[in-house]
Amino acid sequence: MEREELKKQIYNLIKEAAGKKKYKQMDVIKHFRNLGVPDAETKEAIRELVDGGLLIYTYMGGSYIELATKLEEFEKKILE
C-alpha cells in the first residue's frame, strides 16, 4: 500500500473509532498486518501522522493514539 494511502486509512480508522474504541499503536499495527501491511510501514506511517500533528498520543491509564482535535475538546471539557 502506498504510504499516503496507508496514512489516510490509519487516520480514518482512528477517526471512525473515536468515542467508541481506543487504539494503542500495536492495535493499529495488528489491524494493518491483517491487511498485509508490514509492521514497520504502519509504524512509520503513524510516526508521520503524529509528527504532522494529525494524531496525538494520549494517556488514559495506558497510552493510545487519537485524533489531535481531542486535546482541544478535552481541555474545554475538563476546564468546564
Binding site: 494503542k24 499503536q25 500495536m26 496525538i56 488514559m60 495506558g62 497510552s63
Partner: protein
C-alpha cells in the same frame, strides 16, 4: 504581587529541624502566581482531605507521546493559577551530574515557563518540573532541546533509563553504568518518546550488587554489575578489621548465603565456587576483600511493587553478560523480549506479569535462551520446564540410560 493565602495547616510543616517543602513553595509563591495558587490549593486539600487534582494525559509536545503529565485543578475558578498545572519530565544526565550552570539554566527556564517548583529528582530519575500551562509546553520543549536537554519518558513507553553514580564516584562499580545508561537512552529514543508498549518499561543500571538504585525491585529490566573471578583477600586487612572489633564469624561467615566462607581466627578462606555473589562480605570489609575480573552484569527482568500477586523482585535471565560497547547482546534481548510483550501483553500488563501469565518457558523460547540453574527464583520451585511431545519423540532417556 501574587495572591497571599492563610496557611495554618501548612505552617505546621515548617516546624522542626528538616528543610520544609512548604518553605520552598512559599518562596516560589512570593513571585510566581502559579506557585501562590498551588500553596492555596494545597492548604485547602489539607483542610478538606481531598486533592482536587484531575489527571488527564492528553497534553504533550508534538511528536512526543511522553514527557508531560497533564494536571488540572477542580477548583480552577478559585485558584486560576493552577487551572492547568502540568508536570514535565526532563531526561536527566546519567548519574545525575550537572554543572551549576546547567542547573541555573533549568531553574531560569522554569521560572519563565512554569511555577518555578521542581523535584530533583522524581522516583523515575527524571528532573521533574512541576506546574505549567498547555500553551507553554511547546516553547519550553524547544528551549530545552536547543540547550541539550530532552523530555523523558512517561505513559506506556520506555521510561528514562537511570543508573547509580557508578565508576564516576564509586569504588565498587564493575560496569560503566553511566555509559550503558547514556547508550541505551540514545538507542531507544523512539521507544522512549513514542508509547508503543502495553505499559511502562523501566531500565535501571547499577554497578554492583549493593544496588543503590534498587534496580532489582523497581525496574522491568535490572542490570546489576557483577564479577566472575575469585574474591581477592588481603589477610592483613581482614585481621585488622577483626582487631578493630568486627566479629568476622558472626557478621561475615554466618551471614554468607552460600556458606562458602570460613574463618579460623587468623585467616579467611572463601570457596568461590559456592559464592552467590551477594556482595555482603565485600561491602562489610572494604579494602580487605575485592571482586576480581572478568566483570560484567547480571540481567534480570520483571520487578515491580503493584503486581496483582504483590511486590515482585526481578528474575535472573542472564547470570553473566559482558558489558562492552555497543552492548549488542543486551539491545537485541530488549528488542526481542519487548516485541513479544507488545504482541501478547494486555493493556497495563507489565512484562513481568506477562511472563508470570504465559510462563518463563515461553519467554525463554522466544528469547532463544536455555534454562539455567541461576534462573530458579526460589527454593523448591522449578517453574518453567515442562517436556513437550516433540522433546520426547527423540527418546532422550535412551541416551541417558546408556
Amino acid at each position: 504581587m501574587t495572591k497571599k493565602y492563610e496557611t495554618p495547616l501548612l505552617d505546621e510543616l515548617e516546624k522542626g529541624p528538616f528543610p520544609s517543602f512548604v518553605t520552598e513553595i512559599k518562596k516560589a509563591a512570593a513571585k510566581n502566581p502559579m506557585a501562590a495558587d498551588e500553596l492555596g490549593l494545597l492548604e485547602r486539600s489539607y483542610r478538606d482531605k481531598i486533592t482536587y487534582w484531575k489527571h488527564g494525559g492528553i497534553v504533550g509536545v508534538r511528536g512526543y507521546g511522553g514527557g508531560v503529565i497533564g494536571r488540572y485543578s477542580e477548583l480552577a475558578d478559585e485558584f486560576p493559577g493552577v487551572a492547568h498545572f502540568h508536570t514535565v519530565r526532563v531526561n536527566q544526565p546519567a548519574g545525575l551530574f550537572y554543572t551549576s550552570e546547567a542547573i541555573r539554566f533549568i531553574c531560569d527556564v522554569w521560572d519563565k515557563y512554569g511555577s518555578g517548583l521542581t523535584n530533583f529528582h522524581g522516583s523515575t530519575g527524571d528532573i521533574i518540573l512541576l506546574g505549567t500551562v498547555t500553551d507553554n509546553l511547546e516553547p519550553l520543549a524547544t528551549v530545552l532541546s536547543l540547550n541539550g536537554f530532552d523530555l523523558g519518558g512517561s505513559g506506556s513507553a520506555m521510561r528514562t533509563p537511570s543508573c547509580c553514580v557508578g565508576p564516576a564516584r564509586c569504588e565498587w562499580a564493575m560496569i560503566d553504568t553511566l555509559h550503558i545508561t547514556y547508550d541505551l537512552t540514545q538507542e531507544f529514543q523512539d521507544e522512549l518518546h513514542r508509547p508503543q508498549y502495553p505499559y511502562k518499561y523501566k531500565i535501571k543500571v547499577v554497578g554492583c550488587p549493593i544496588d543503590c538504585n534498587a534496580a532489582i525491585a523497581r525496574a522491568d529490566l535490572s542490570i546489576i554489575g557483577t564479577w566472575k573471578g575469585p574474591i581477592a583477600i588481603d589477610q592483613d586487612r581482614v585481621r585488622d578489621y577483626a582487631k578493630k572489633g568486627v566479629d568476622i564469624q558472626e557478621e561475615i561467615v554466618n551471614l554468607c548465603p552460600g556458606k562458602c566462607i570460613s574463618w579460623d581466627g587468623n585467616s579467611l578462606t572463601i570457596n568461590d565456587e559456592d559464592c552467590r555473589h551477594c556482595f555482603h562480605c565485600i561491602a562489610k570489609l572494604p579494602g580487605a576483600l575485592k571482586p576480581t575480573p572478568p566483570f560484567g552484569a547480571t540481567i534480570l527482568i520483571g520487578s515491580k511493587a503493584p503486581f496483582v500477586i504483590g511486590a515482585t523482585l526481578s528474575w535472573v535471565i542472564f547470570p553473566f553478560m559482558e558489558m562492552k560497547p555497543p552492548y549488542q547482546e543486551l539491545k537485541d534481548f530488549i528488542r526481542t523480549s519487548n516485541e513479544w510483550w507488545s504482541e501478547y501483553g494486555k493493556n497495563r500488563e507489565r512484562i513481568g506479569e506477562l511472563i508470570l501469565r504465559l510462563g518463563m518457558r515461553e519467554f525463554l523460547e522466544v528469547c532463544g535462551l536455555k534454562p539455567l540453574p541461576e534462573m530458579v527464583k526460589e527454593p523448591r520451585r522449578d517453574p518453567f520446564w515442562f517436556w513437550k511431545e516433540g522433546d520426547l519423540e527423540g527418546k532422550p532417556w535412551e541416551s541417558w540410560l546408556k
